[in-house]
């Protein structure tokens, strides 16, 4: 301990209070009193902001955890509250009987293939994404099969525009979108992921663009981006 008293200046007291406030440690009545002072005191607000920046450095200690896909779906549903979203809402709109819808979802989730195409969903996908257009008119579920190094994609609603194709893109970090390939006419497909890309999927988003037959003639999307969905854990 140094010899001098700690609270020798009002300024020190404010620094400490601002720190307690930024940490959320102040008892409710004191926090309310402090908040009331903030409104008219720019220096005090600066103290709180400084503490906030400093303490946020502690969050470097926190390991990132990829949230499940359903969280992003729920956020989109809450923000863009049009017709009900998600598989149930979509199936209701396209008029498929509920039982069939439930069976389809189960089939995808459990990896049981009842489809005629012979394209199987992965049993234990590492990442999933629900790639959905704003208006719900296009909806593609994707699941990454780490063992095979492939994306399993299943088009559940909508289709390419006449004479056009849907191209799947991976957007990760600040790099340009990377094509994962053109979706075939069949509703289900597996698209191989190039070896260098496989380690860069976490935190990425998948997007579908409208392209001429054969896919984008360029290295990036040339048509409208019709639907997007971030990769999350199953």
């Amino acid at each position: 301990m140094s010899g001098r008293p700690y609270w020798d200046e009002d300024r020190d007291e404010d620094k400490v209070l601002a720190g307690e406030y930024a940490l959320g440690l102040l008892p409710p009545d004191e926090a309310a009193g402090f908040a009331a002072r903030l409104g008219e005191n720019a220096a005090l607000r600066a103290l709180v902001r400084q503490w906030t920046e400093d303490f946020t450095g502690l969050s470097d200690l926190v390991e990132p955890q990829v949230p499940p896909v359903r969280v992003h779906q729920a956020i989109e549903a809450r923000i863009f509250s049009g017709p009900a979203r998600g598989p149930l809402g979509l199936f209701r709109r396209v008029g498929v009987p509920m039982l069939t819808a439930a069976a389809l979802i189960l089939a995808l989730f459990l990896g049981i293939d009842h489809g005629p195409s012979g394209v199987h969903p992965p049993v234990a996908p590492v990442y999933r994404a629900e790639i959905e257009a704003t208006d719900g008119g296009l909806y593609v579920a994707a699941a990454y099969d780490a063992g095979a190094g492939e994306f399993y994609v299943e088009r559940r609603a909508g289709a390419a525009r006449p004479g056009r194709v849907l191209e799947l893109w991976l957007i990760e970090g600040d790099g340009p979108p990377v094509s994962l390939g053109v979706l075939p006419e069949a509703a289900r497909a597996r698209l191989p992921v190039a070896e260098p890309l496989r380690a860069r999927l976490e935190g990425g988003i998948l997007a579908l663009s409208d392209e001429p037959s054969g896919g984008s003639p360029d290295r990036s999307p040339t048509g409208d981006v019709l639907a997007v969905g971030p990769l999350g854990t199953p």
Binding site: Y6, D12, K15, V16, G19, E20, Y21, A22, L23, G24, L25, L26, P27, P28, A31, A35, L38, A42, A43, R45, A46, V48, R49, Q50, T52, E53, D54, F55, T56, G57, L58, S59, D60, L61, V62, E63, P64, Q65, V66, P67, P68, V71, H72, A74, I75, R78, I79, F80, T134, I171, G173, D174, E202, G203, G204, I205, A207, V225, V228, P230
Partner: protein
């Protein structure tokens, strides 16, 4: 991982109603925010609900980001932390303690220069100058959203002692960070 300028761009585009940018912002930042929230709330389902609240709020308030003078990750992480603490205190204690709202302070202050990640080692060094139990209590207050009462119980000291510990530590920390 996107850098600071990327995140700022995504927030600006989100503010103008760009949904692709909002999805990209979510993809770039949600894992960090989910990690922060999981440390504070007690169940995964609460963490998921909290994460939803945070991004719904980000969508609606992205236009106010510029005025906040916080670095973009600080703004996002603080929103997540505060929402998680609000939920934790509602569910565990049934009390409501108002938390600083990073979105509410609109007048920029002269000292409000956002620090860069390069200043983080200094924070670690300054924590190392504190007594280990006090540094630990401070970390728990930030990372786990603990109250003085909880910390006092955890460290086996009276509440007033814990408060004195942390108030002294805050002043030492500020002096160290200002050096």
């Amino acid at each position: 991982m996107a850098d600071r300028a990327d995140i700022e761009t995504l927030i600006a585009r989100t503010a103008s109603g760009d949904r692709v940018a909002f999805s990209a912002l979510y993809a770039a930042t949600s894992a960090k925010l989910f990690g922060v929230i999981l440390r504070i709330v007690s169940t995964r389902s609460e963490a998921e609900e909290t994460l939803q609240e945070v991004y719904v709020r980000v969508w609606h308030t992205a236009g106010r980001y510029d005025a906040d003078c916080l670095s973009p990750m600080t703004w996002l992480i603080t929103s997540a932390r505060n929402a998680a603490i609000d939920r934790r205190r509602r569910t565990i204690h049934g009390i409501e303690a108002p938390l600083p709202d990073p979105l509410s302070d609109t007048a920029p202050g002269p000292e409000a220069q956002a620090i860069d990640a390069s200043d983080r080692p200094r924070l670690t060094a300054c924590f190392d100058e504190l007594a280990p139990d006090r540094a630990g209590a401070m970390r728990r207050a930030y990372l786990e959203g603990k109250t003085y009462a909880e910390l006092a119980a955890q460290y086996g000291v009276p509440l007033n002692t814990m408060r004195t510990w942390l108030r002294q530590s805050l002043l030492r920390l500020r002096e160290c960070l200002a050096r």
